[in-house]
Amino acid sequence: MVGMTRIDKNPSGNRRGIAVEVRGLVKQFGGSQGTRALDGVDLDVREGTVLGVLGPNGAGKTTLVRILSTLLRPDAGSARVAGYDVLRQPRQLRRTIGLTGQYASVDEKLSGRENLYMIGRLLDLPRSDARRRADELLERFSLTDAAKKPAMQYSGGMRRRLDLAASMIGRPSVLYLDEPTTGLDPRTRNEVWDEVQRLVGEGATVLLTTQYMEEAEQLADELTVFDRGRVIASGRVDELKAKVGGRTLRVVPTDPATVTAMARTLAETGLDGVSGATAVPDEGALYVPILSDEQLTAVIGLLGERGFSIAHIGTHLPSLDEVFLAITGEKTTGTTGAAETEGVAA
């Protein structure tokens, strides 16, 4: 909501409806012989949407975020955020953004409340408003009980939440989340995801970098895939998913001997778009590539109808490796997450 009005009012604004506009961005480290962290990147983030920037370590994701938050100056190209140029209008730009990095950017020696109060004061809130806003956000991010403890005593997830809260104090219209869940356990990761979804529901524009396909799927409307400083694919999440093959459904029947019969049933019935169901008798499991929720429902429904007793089902997304394989035909160079899905034959 904030983003919309600001951009409309802005005289030098971006193209209508585009909150972040990046053109031909280049950043080189270590002189002319150094590495190109960004090598001519173009991207747009539409207002009120989440753009996921997916890529392995060293792909240039963090460099992009640091340029867009005025921490780094690009060597070439242009970038505008909420209508403000990163090079020419950094001060105005800083009023519209919030940044939550891989490393919690809060003061560890200060309590959660003091951290938020300080940020509020730095954003020119009067003392009483800064105090109120701090308490409000502590409550919203379930940190009220720990409000008086120094941040160094917080768990990883609490720190990340405090960091998010700190980014929210000024009600930024554009929020950068640089690998917001890297290093978090699944439960904490879900908490962070919930918060991000809530923020988006309130109209924030988000640029999210991640190494996890699953995270991109959960949060992003559109995806841009980075590799070695270049954009190698971009589009809506479902478009890219179709390209890389969507999810894989794994079904474990109560009686392991029935997996082959299940695969045969699916093949014979010929559900719309469902093909390639594979039985793995050794494991007593059936693998089915799935492109939509409807297909998932149809497959489970059919198996139920035909009297198969199912002990366990699960789906998983392709790993970053598999995404890269599908897009470029080569494996990623960096280390990737989502390793748990490797080796699954679909």
Partner: protein
């Protein structure tokens, strides 16, 4: 076509995750808006508050600047509260130095001054004020280097505040620490029998001059702290600079017995000027030349180093 049991577990966890987030998301979407609607819109967030006007031209006014410095100085002060051990240097340094210098050198240097240990006390304590400023300034360098490694600096640098406010706030708090150290030093001096031969104003002027010069020195060490890679390196370089400046001065002993080349150095050493000025202000005697020299040094150092330090802070990656 192999799928190990680990893979199976992974997939299971993934599915469970899907379900929970889905549900939580649905709940969160509703709850979220409800909560935020409860927020009064006049909460002076940048879009509507005074910040919006500043945002239009992007400049930061003086009052806002002072407010930012205040908020950041509060941060530095709270850090001290959280970590009281960081005050040990300020609390103990004046006591240890006074006792050491007065009882080790007091007798012999005092005699050469034409008096005794008591005369040396009045000689060395004003000089120690100068030394204290330098030692605390050095700690600023290592502290800055440490601080910069933390993520919170990135946050400050992405906020609509003047970059200098982070540095100035640090100096404000460090000057506060210097005041504490000077108070303890003077308390120690008086306890051992130091006397003020001019007036309390002379004493205050001496303290003020020391603080001013100490604050100027901090810019050098901030720049050093931002330039060097590690805090240890900062400390190493600072020590090498510090020792000749402190001992090659009139802080601890009169310079008249020193060889000519060293006297030439001490004459231009700003710490000598400061020590002489402070001594003159406390004990009486000529002040003008050394005081002006000290002020000129302080102004010169600040004018050159402060912009360099701010620039380094802005561009550091």
């Amino acid at each position: 076509m192999t799928a190990t049991s680990t893979n199976g577990t992974g997939a299971t966890a993934g599915a469970a995750t899907d379900v929970t987030t889905g549900a939580a998301h649905a709940a969160g979407a509703e709850g979220g808006t409800a909560v935020d609607r409860g927020v009064p819109p006049q909460g002076s967030a940048p879009p509507g508050g005074p910040g919006a006007r500043a945002g239009a031209e992007g400049r930061i006014g003086l009052r806002a600047h002072l407010r930012h410095i205040g908020a950041l100085a509060r941060r530095n002060a709270l850090q001290i509260k959280q970590d009281p051990e960081s005050m040990f240097d300020v609390l103990l340094m004046p006591i240890v130095f006074t006792v050491l210098f007065v009882y080790v050198f007091g007798g012999s240097v005092g005699a050469s001054l034409g008096g005794d240990r008591h005369d040396y006390l009045n000689y060395v304590v004003p000089g120690l004020m100068a030394m204290m400023g330098m030692n605390i300034a050095m700690a600023v360098g290592t502290g800055m280097n440490d601080d910069f490694r933390k993520g919170v600096m990135d946050r400050f640098r992405t906020m609509p505040i003047a970059r200098s406010s982070v540095l100035i706030a640090k100096i404000v708090v460090e000057v506060g620490r210097m005041i504490v150290a000077t108070a303890i030093l003077l308390g120690m001096g008086f306890a051992l029998g130091m006397t003020v031969q001019t007036s309390v104003f002379g004493l205050l002027a001496a303290v003020g001059l020391s603080l001013l010069f100490g604050a100027a020195l901090m810019w050098i060490f901030i720049l050093l702290g931002l330039t060097m890679k590690t805090a240890q390196a900062v400390q190493g370089v600072a020590m090498i600079v510090l020792m000749p400046l402190q001992f090659g001065s009139s802080i601890f002993a009169p310079t008249k017995t020193m060889p000519g080349w060293l006297q030439a150095f001490t004459d231009y050493n700003p710490l000598s000027n400061l020590a002489d000025a402070a001594r003159g202000l406390v004990n009486g005697g000529p002040v003008a030349h050394s005081a002006w020299m000290t002020l000129a040094w302080a102004a010169g150092i600040t004018l050159v180093m402060a912009p360099l330090a701010v620039r380094k802070f802005r561009d550091k990656t």
